[in-house]
Subunit: 232 residues, 2 copies
DNA sequence: GTCTCCGCTTGATCTAGATCAAGTCTTTTG
DNA sequence: CAAAAGACTTGATCTAGATCAAGCGGAGAC
């Protein structure tokens, strides 16, 4: 793979502290690939041959069962996905598809496991990353089990506002139909849910959201750091 | 703590491969405590001062938000809980309470982190354990987002039957009200759901379940290893 | 430009599941 | 033993959200 990508991969927490020699060894077996939109990169149940790193574009992690389908997460640059399957050498639990044109680094899983054994800084970083992933899913689980769909949307909007810098107006970073799936609701209901937040000062114009008074919306949404804080 | 407990703790995957000296150092700062039923051991949001190991009894991990409450998991002997919070030195995301009289080992989190740094076998075991935990929650998430409550109950029964040895008749290991919460439904609905499974050969007598024809129930439940396999 | 497709909205209905309200049965307690 | 509490069940009702069925409107194709 082109060395031009090395710095941005190296900058990831996962790779930042490992020995240079090990980093180079890891990337020696890796390669970069460009994918068009809507390509299924990974199917759940397949063996986990590669650790993936998204350099550009975005990836939808989803799952199917009995003709139903749900989005579980979205991966944006620059970050890795399916680390747990790689480490455990177990089948993928989720499928992955590109949402747009995306550039992906594929690192052979066996190399990751080998260097994990050899580099304790890398091992430590993996532990931190996995713990982080685990906690994120627990938060998602709480969001889903404790809140109604209207509350989930309200809190999503508050998180997204914060994430985009806190301005009164901001953009959704999802297609609405996928946001619906992420929030575990139908597109129709999402549409109605936006209307349901109007009394709390939320207005929608395409993918642009305006929040008139954050405090007002918070009063309804009751955001909680143990569910809504992305870090920690 | 009494050395009598050492072997059963040592037998856990998490501690099996670490150096003896480190194992002893870890337990030197640990202590065992007995708790009566219904004691809240941990409140979400508190700092994670101890890694917990359940020696006997059982523990409910749950969460509260806005006057609602949900069970997220049950911990049974012998295993650990809240490893991720310990490792990240971050607040607990879940509360924990004893369901019955329970004996718990408390290992100071700072010791766990120190020995994690010093013992690469221990580090590796932690990674495996965290990856396992992560994958379990993903499975739970899929169960919740892709299935109806009746399907969740049917698959739970199939898992439980397998877990107890596969006999046509077996015991629930939950109080029904808590099973309801774990399956994200109300006790009333659980009661009705059991009736709803009668056409598939499920009969209930107290906490004793009988499955007349496993194939018949499977035909309805459509169990999937990527959701229902406890290991892998 | 017009046409077509597709994502989104809106309204009308339907359904799974929640809630409310008794009642039964078992277990605990005095 | 009787009383009381608590778990579970059952029925009646209510509600959030899903589904079905049109429309609307913007973006790309020709």
């Amino acid at each position: 793979m082109p060395e031009a990508h090395y710095p941005e991969i190296r900058a990831l927490n996962l790779f930042a502290e490992m020995a240079e020699a090990n980093f180079l060894a890891l990337l020696r077996g890796a390669y970069v690939q460009n994918f068009p939109p809507q390509i299924e990169l990974i199917g759940e149940g397949e063996p986990s041959d590669f650790l993936h790193v998204v350099l550009s574009g975005s990836i939808d992690l989803f799952s199917r069962w009995n003709d139903r389908e749900t989005s579980l997460a979205t991966v944006r640059p620059v970050s890795t996905f399916i680390l747990a399957a790689t480490i455990k050498n177990a089948p993928y639990l989720m499928s992955a598809r590109t949402l747009e044109k995306s550039r992906i680094v594929l690192i052979p899983s066996k190399d990751v496991r080998a260097i994990f054994d050899a580099d304790s800084n890398f091992a430590r970083a993996i532990v931190t990353e996995l713990a982080q992933c685990y906690r994120s899913v627990i938060k998602a689980q709480k969001d889903l089990k404790l809140r109604t769909s209207l509350e989930r949307l309200a809190n999503y909007l508050l998180r997204q506002q914060k994430h985009t810098g806190g301005g009164a107006t901001f953009e959704l970073d999802f297609e609405k139909r996928r946001l619906a799936s992420v929030l575990s609701m139908t597109p129709e209901n999402l549409s109605r849910a936006f209307k349901g937040l109007k009394p709390y000062g939320v207005t929608v114009d395409g993918t642009t959201i305006a929040i008139a008074d954050r405090a007002d919306l918070e009063h309804f949404a009751k955001p909680n750091p143990l569910i809504d804080d992305v870090t920690s």
